[in-house]
C-alpha cells in the first residue's frame, strides 16, 4: 500500500469493485432476486474497505487485533459476501450458494453464519450502537484496532443511530468511523420524500463528529477520504464519511429504471446487465 502510487491504489479498488459488481449480479441471477441495486452502488466503498483499509487476516477472521467492520444494513450482505471473497475470507465459488437453504451466505447478514461477519444487522439502527461498545471496549483494553460501521441514509431515520452518534461523540471515540451509504433511496421511495434528512453532514457535525462527504463511486475520492481519517488520537472525535452513491451503478439499465428498494430484474435482463457492466468497465479502461 505504501509503495503503490495513488493511481495504482485506485486502479486496484476499481478492479475489485468491478468484480464485486459482477459477483453481485451473478448471485442475484442464481437466486433470481436480491438487493442488487444497493450492491452495485456500494461496491467501490466496500472494495476500498477490504482491499485498502481493514487490518485483518483472511485465514483467521476472528483474530483479536483485527479492525472491525460492522455491516449494519443486513440486506447489503450480497455486496459484503462479494467483498469477503475479494478479501480471501470466503472462497469465490461459495458465492453461488447465496441465499439458498443451508448456505453460509444468507440473504440478510448474520454473524453466526458467515466468517468475517461481525454482527447480525438488518433490524436497522443497530450497527452504530454495537460499534460504540466495541470501540469503547477495544480502547479500554488498550487495543489500537479500529471500528468501522457501514450504515445507510435510510437508517438515519432510526433514533438509535442518533443515540449512538451522541454516545460516540460524548465518549470521544476517535477509533470509530461511520461509513454512510447515501443512495437516496429507501423502501417506500426516495429518502427525501420518506423522511427528510438533509443537510445530513450538518447533522453529524452538530452531534460532534468530524465529517466528510464524497462521491462514493469514485475510487480516488473514496481513498482520499479514508486517508483523511485521523484516528491516531484514540480520544479524538468520531468520524463519519457520507458516500453519495448511485443505486445500480455501472449498469445503465438499472441506473435508469425507476428506483426500487428491492429491484426487480427480469430473467432476460441479467445477461444484459452483465454485458452493460463489462462494457462500461472496459470502456473506462480503454
Amino acid at each position: 500500500m505504501t509503495t503503490a502510487t495513488a493511481s495504482d491504489r485506485a486502479r486496484r479498488i476499481r478492479d475489485s469493485a468491478h468484480r464485486i459488481r459482477l459477483n453481485a449480479l451473478h448471485m442475484g441471477e442464481v437466486q433470481g432476486q436480491g438487493y442488487v441495486g444497493q450492491a452495485l452502488g456500494a461496491a467501490d466503498v466496500l472494495a476500498a474497505v477490504y482491499l485498502d483499509q481493514l487490518r485483518h487476516r483472511a485465514d483467521d477472521p476472528h483474530w483479536d487485533d483485527r479492525d472491525r467492520f460492522l455491516l449494519s444494513t443486513g440486506h447489503y450482505a450480497i455486496a459484503l459476501y462479494a467483498a469477503l471473497a475479494e478479501a480471501g475470507v470466503i472462497p469465490q465459488e461459495e458465492l453461488d450458494t447465496y441465499g439458498s437453504d443451508d448456505s453460509r451466505l444468507p440473504m440478510s447478514g448474520m454473524a453466526s453464519y458467515t466468517p468475517g461477519m461481525e454482527i447480525s444487522g438488518g433490524s436497522l439502527g443497530h450497527g452504530l450502537t454495537v460499534a460504540v461498545g466495541m470501540a469503547l471496549g477495544l480502547r479500554h483494553q488498550g487495543s489500537d484496532a479500529r471500528v468501522f460501521t457501514f450504515l445507510s441514509d435510510g437508517e438515519l431515520n432510526e433514533g438509535s443511530t442518533w443515540e449512538s452518534a451522541m454516545g460516540a461523540a460524548s465518549h470521544r471515540l476517535g477509533n470509530l468511523t461511520a461509513l454512510v451509504d447515501m443512495n437516496a433511496l429507501q423502501a417506500d421511495g426516495p429518502t427525501a420524500d420518506v423522511l427528510s434528512l438533509e443537510p445530513a453532514e450538518d447533522k453529524w457535525a452538530s452531534f460532534g463528529w468530524r465529517t466528510q462527504r464524497v462521491d462514493g463511486n469514485d475510487p480516488e475520492a473514496i481513498l482520499a477520504a479514508f486517508d483523511a481519517i485521523d484516528d491516531r488520537d484514540p480520544v479524538g472525535a468520531p468520524q463519519v464519511i457520507l458516500f453519495d452513491v448511485k443505486v445500480g451503478k455501472g449498469v445503465p439499465l438499472l441506473e435508469d429504471r425507476e428506483k426500487n428498494h428491492f429491484m426487480r430484474i427480469d430473467e432476460h435482463e441479467w445477461a444484459i446487465s452483465r454485458e452493460q457492466l463489462i462494457a462500461g468497465y472496459e470502456g473506462a479502461n480503454r
Binding site: A111, S112, E118, I119, S120, S123, G125, H126, L128, T129, V130, A131, V132, G133, M134, A135, L136, G137, L138, H140, Q141, S143, G159, S160, E163, S164, M166, G167, S170, H171
Partner: protein, 319 residues
C-alpha cells in the same frame, strides 16, 4: 379555637425501600456484589443509562470508575454498546429500570445480545410493583415480555442474600441474563433459612404439610411472612422459591405440586405471562387437581383485603 390537624397523607410514589421498619437490610447489595466481583475479574464492566444512582450501579462506578461507562438516557445505545463490549471479550452489566429495558430496548437486547448469546447481564430496577410511580415505571409485564427471548436467563431474587450470591453466577454463566433488581436498602431474609442461590434451581425454603406457596422475587419474602402467620393458625405452609424464572426448574416445582396440598403462586408480576401461568399445565396432570390462586398483591399487607378465591379455596379444603 384551633383548626383540626389534617391527617398525614401517605405517599408511596418515592419509596426508596420496601423494607419494613426494623427489618434487617443490606445496602445496595447489587452494587456491592458487582464491585467485589470486579476486584477479581478484570473483564467486568458496568454501564447505565442515566440511572446508575438509582440502580445501585453507583457503588460499582465509585469502586471502579475506569470500568464504568455512562451511556446517557439512551437505552437502545446502552444495550447495543453492551453487546459490542461483550463482543470484544468484556462482561458487561448494564442497568436501567425494568420498564425501559423491556419496553424501549427489546429489539437491541433480542438481536444484539440474546441472538448471538453474548454474556451481557441486563439489570432492571423497579420490577413489578416496587414503586408507586405508576405504570410509566412499574414493570408488571417484564417477565412476560422477556420470557420469549432466546437464550436469556431470567432471575427474580428475593432479597440481599439472593442478589449477592446471584451476581457472580450471572457473570459466570456464558449467555445473557436479566436480573430483576431490588435496590437501596434491600431486606435480608434468606440467611435465616438453610438456603443458597443456585442459578437455575428452585429451592424449598420452608417445608409444610398443608399448603405450598410457589413464589419468586420479593413475593417469597411475603410468602415466608404469610407462612409464619398461618402457622399461628395451625396451617403448615411450605414455601418453594423459584428465583430463576427461565430456565424454570420444573422438576423441583412439579415434585412439590404433585401432592394433595393446596398450591398457590405468588409473583410480583401480572398473571398474564407470569409464573402462575407456567404452573397450571403440570397441575392439570397432578392428582388430585389442586386449587390454585394466583396472587396479585406483591405488597400484600394487613391493610389489603384477602383474596376471595384464595380464602374460599382454603376454607373448603380440610386442613
Amino acid at each position: 379555637m384551633t383548626t383540626p390537624t389534617k391527617p398525614k397523607l401517605k405517599t408511596s410514589a418515592m419509596i426508596a425501600s420496601f423494607a419494613e421498619p426494623g427489618q434487617k437490610t443490606a445496602s445496595a447489595p447489587f452494587g456491592e456484589a458487582l464491585a467485589r466481583l470486579a476486584d477479581t475479574d478484570q473483564r467486568v464492566v458496568g454501564l447505565s443509562a442515566d440511572l446508575a444512582k438509582y440502580t445501585d450501579m453507583h457503588v460499582f462506578r465509585d469502586a471502579h470508575p475506569e470500568r464504568f461507562f455512562q451511556m446517557g438516557m439512551a437505552e437502545q445505545l446502552l444495550f447495543g454498546a453492551a453487546a459490542g463490549m461483550a463482543e470484544v471479550g468484556l462482561i458487561p452489566f448494564a442497568s436501567t429500570y425494568s420498564v425501559f429495558a423491556s419496553r424501549r430496548a427489546y429489539d437491541f437486547i433480542a438481536l444484539d445480545i440474546a441472538e448471538p448469546n453474548l454474556n451481557v447481564n441486563v439489570v432492571g430496577g423497579l420490577p413489578g410493583l416496587t414503586t408507586g410511580y405508576g405504570p410509566s415505571h412499574q414493570a408488571t409485564e417484564d417477565i412476560a415480555i422477556f420470557r420469549g427471548m432466546p437464550n436469556l436467563t431470567i432471575v427474580d431474587p428475593c432479597d440481599s442474600v439472593d442478589i449477592a450470591q446471584a451476581v457472580p453466577q450471572l457473570a459466570a454463566s456464558a449467555g445473557p441474563t436479566y436480573l430483576r433488581l431490588l435496590r437501596g436498602k434491600v431486606p435480608t431474609i434468606l440467611d435465616e433459612y438453610d438456603y443458597s442461590f443456585e442459578l437455575g434451581k428452585a429451592k424449598v425454603v420452608r417445608p409444610g404439610n398443608d399448603v405450598v406457596f410457589v413464589s419468586s422475587g420479593l413475593m417469597t419474602m411475603r410468602a415466608l411472612q404469610a407462612a409464619e402467620r398461618l402457622a399461628a393458625h395451625r396451617i403448615d405452609v411450605a414455601v418453594v422459591h423459584t428465583p430463576t424464572i427461565k430456565p424454570f426448574d420444573e422438576e423441583t416445582v412439579l415434585r412439590e405440586l404433585d401432592t394433595p396440598r393446596l398450591a398457590l403462586t405468588l409473583e410480583n408480576h401480572t398473571v398474564v405471562g407470569g409464573c402462575s401461568r407456567r404452573s397450571p399445565p403440570p397441575w392439570c396432570v397432578a392428582e388430585p387437581p389442586a386449587a390454585s390462586c394466583p396472587s396479585r398483591c406483591p405488597t400484600a399487607s394487613s391493610t389489603r383485603e384477602p383474596c376471595r378465591r384464595c380464602t374460599s379455596a382454603m376454607a373448603s379444603r380440610p386442613m
